[in-house]
């Protein structure tokens, strides 16, 4: 690198010599006098004004840009990244998250609990434990499904016909109950397993049979 510069210096040696030999320009004779009178009279012209206004411009201009950028960032960035459904309340949002992960488990759990409930009701209709179990299973089901408590319905009451639904606005009347079902968001639809469907059908059939037996027993008891 050094050699390159040295080569250049030798190459331009004539020019450099001429530049060095250029006559030295001097200030006019009254230069000092003019300068000192300016200082004594405090006639600094623009130089002093620049000194005062300079800092303001230097500080305000970039800070205004930075503040605007931050404000714009706060306004636009979160809305573009987090698309919130205003129809979903926080509890429902949580439930909708859990339903996705537990969708496979729920089916099998419910089946077990319903079979337990069924066994209990058949074996001892007056047993208080069965009602406890059923209420527990109902609670668990409610916490897992993204449905509001007002929209749920008791399966026993529904089968017995004590809470017949008159509201036929909604297709899924069992889930929605007596009140119209609120918007619960969208869920991943899964094709039901044939075995699980058969299980459910068998359970419903057994429940109906049990109900019929219970009715016939009631009639028999009422008979003198």
């Amino acid at each position: 690198m050094k050699t390159i510069y040295n080569e250049n210096e030798t190459k331009n040696s004539k020019l450099i010599k001429d530049l060095q030999n250029l006559p030295k320009v001097k200030t006019p004779e009254n230069f000092e006098y003019n300068l000192m009178t300016r200082i004594k009279n405090k006639n600094f012209g623009k130089l002093e004004e620049e000194k005062q206004s300079f800092n303001w411009i230097k500080f305000l201009a970039p800070s205004a840009v930075v503040v605007t950028a931050i404000i714009l960032l706060f306004i636009f960035l979160p809305s573009s990244q987090q698309i919130d459904n205003p129809l979903l309340n926080p509890a429902q949002k949580l439930d909708s998250q859990s339903i996705v992960s537990n969708s496979v488990e729920v089916g099998s759990d419910l089946a077990k609990k319903n079979s337990n409930q069924n066994n209990n009701s058949v074996a001892s209709s007056g047993n208080s434990g069965s009602s406890l179990n059923s209420s527990n299973s109902q609670n668990r089901a409610n916490t897992r499904f993204p449905l509001s408590t007002t929209g749920s319905v008791s399966l026993d009451d529904y089968i017995s016909g004590s809470s017949r639904q008159r509201n036929m606005q909604r297709g899924n009347i069992v889930n929605s109950g007596s009140e119209p079902m609120p918007y619960n968001g969208f869920f991943i639809s899964e094709k039901p397993d044939q075995n699980t469907l058969n299980k459910y059908r068998a359970q419903v059939d057994s429940l109906r049979k049990a109900q019929m037996k219970a009715d016939s027993l009631k009639k028999a008891l009422k008979m003198p």
Binding site: Y5, N8, L15, D18, L19, Q20, T27, E32, I39, L47
Partner: protein
């Protein structure tokens, strides 16, 4: 007391001016630097009257901002930086004026050195004309290169000092000097053709 002040170094003088705020030290520094600065600004900007004003403003700035000088820097580089900045501002102002000027012709932009081709070789050999040609060619060189060439080849400052004045790395200073010299050589090819 005054005799002893003249013997002091630049850095000691400005320290004295900062501490006691007496004008004697300031005047000595003005006397020392007015001509070197005038020469530097004249070779950089070109107009004698404008250059006198720039050097006056440099001295006023030095007077007003004496406390902004820090003792770890050389006084000469500090005052050259002030003068250089004021000279650059003047060049910017001129450029703006030429952009907005309606009477601005393209003919004015063509290097006037070409006219010297029509002069006789005896006249070119004449020192005064030669110096005039060199000065005109110098003003045609890009300001970024011109500044460092003037500081190095006319003011005879070291690369380190130029680096401090311009705020550039030494490597950049060296390369700019070479580019400036090359441009100058090109503009003065009729003198150095041999």
């Amino acid at each position: 007391m005054n005799k002893s002040l003249t013997e002091l170094k630049d850095e000691e003088l400005i320290k004295d001016f900062q501490d006691s705020n007496t004008l004697e030290a300031y005047e000595i520094l003005v006397r020392r630097y007015k001509d070197p600065l005038m020469n530097f600004v004249y070779r950089f900007v070109g107009d004698r009257d404008v250059c006198t004003d720039i050097v006056q403003d440099t001295m006023i700035k030095f007077y007003l901002n004496k406390d902004s000088y820090r003792s770890f820097a050389k006084f000469s580089t500090w005052i050259y930086t002030i003068a250089g900045n004021l000279a650059k501002n003047e060049l910017k102002r001129r450029r703006r004026r030429t952009i907005f000027s309606i009477s601005n012709n393209d003919d004015e932009k063509t290097p006037q050195i070409e006219d010297k081709m029509f002069r006789s070789p005896e006249k070119i050999a004449d020192g005064e004309i030669r110096n005039e040609i060199i000065q005109k060619a110098l003003l045609k060189v890009k300001p970024v290169y011109r500044e460092v060439v003037v500081l190095r080849d006319i003011q005879d400052l070291s690369y380190e000092e130029i680096s401090e004045i311009t705020g550039l790395a030494i490597g950049t200073v060296k390369s700019r000097i070479n580019r400036g010299r090359a441009q100058l050589q090109k503009l003065l090819k009729h003198i150095y053709k041999e």
